[in-house]
Amino acid sequence: MNLIEAKAALDKVIKKARVHLYKPIQVAEILHRDRIHQDIDLSILDTYRTKSKKWRDIICLKFLGRSSTSSARYQDDLFNKNAIPPEALILLGDENRKKSGVVEAYIYRKFITRYSQMTAGLQYCHEAGVENFNLGTFFDLFDKTPGLKRSIDKVFEIVVYSLFQVLVEELDVSIQVSLNLEKTEILK
């Protein structure tokens, strides 16, 4: 593997990531740790496999207000051969140290871009208002932006939830739970 291939592997993980970019942030934090603290060995996965989730979560909690809730297996996919294995991290780490954090900066810039795309959806809600908001146009914003397409299921969820929620609230829907009075003997 060479640096171009390692960068391609990183780009693939960024492209595949949903809007929160948990996995790319984990890579950035591994590289940051390697560059600043120098207390891990990029060729030995066990020196950072588990700890890097904590470093990632510190950033995610600070800027996203949440951390990844995916299964441990899904999170560990990051280091698979077809994602970013240690041999790719070694190359990215060398480049990152040589150029004062260039790979970290690259990942965080991608993160900013992804987030500003997300803001477009929010902005549309505010600008269109109740007079002009069109759900088709709203869906299209996500469907037609490559970086957001992977989060379209979340958008569907939000759209369905909002409608149900407003109807349940406005209709004062209530639930009655009762037991058969003829069977209260069972409780005695």
């Binding site: 969820e157 407003v166 009762s178």
Partner: protein, 153 residues
């Protein structure tokens, strides 16, 4: 509930489960009146459909899908004999019509503002646009802003 309190009434509530990932087969939403919702933005094939439907013990399932997938899904469900378990299929067009009705229909004065407010709140909660100043401070503190490199642009 006990022998002296044989019934009670509570307001119906609809909840979103804390953030899950597409890779999970987890629950996305549930209501205290006995329904559960899973959103799957997947292209269904026979195996996947059977896997999802058989993993759900509920007998009344509602599927939300793209218009173009409705026919395929129906035919798949027929093939695997699960059609009787499906209460209905809601397409993207249905959602668009319902939103139109809520936002500009006869009762829009009751629904429209609330609907859009909930939508905005949920987007902000799902995709919190972190405080830009904080993030800029972070970029400066780590000196990322000074880095320029043609290979990593």
């Amino acid at each position: 509930m006990d022998i002296n309190n044989t019934s009670f009434v509570v307001p119906a509530k609809f909840h979103r489960v804390a953030v899950t990932n597409a890779a999970d087969r987890g629950l996305d939403m549930w209501g205290n009146c006995g329904f559960a919702v899973q959103i799957k933005h997947l292209t269904l094939d026979e195996t996947l459909a059977e896997g999802i439907v058989s993993a759900i013990t509920a007998d009344r399932i509602i599927i939300v899908c793209k218009d173009s997938e409705e026919k395929i899904i129906l035919s798949l469900l027929n093939q695997i004999g699960w059609k009787s378990k499906i209460q209905s299929i809601i397409t993207r067009s249905d959602l668009e019509i319902w939103y139109e009705k809520a936002l500009r229909g006869s009762f829009s004065h009751l629904l429209s503002t609330k609907l859009l407010n909930i939508l905005v709140e949920e987007i902000e909660c799902e995709f919190p646009s972190s405080n830009n100043t904080d993030f800029n401070d972070f970029m400066v503190e780590r000196m990322y802003n000074n880095i320029k490199d043609s290979f990593w642009k």
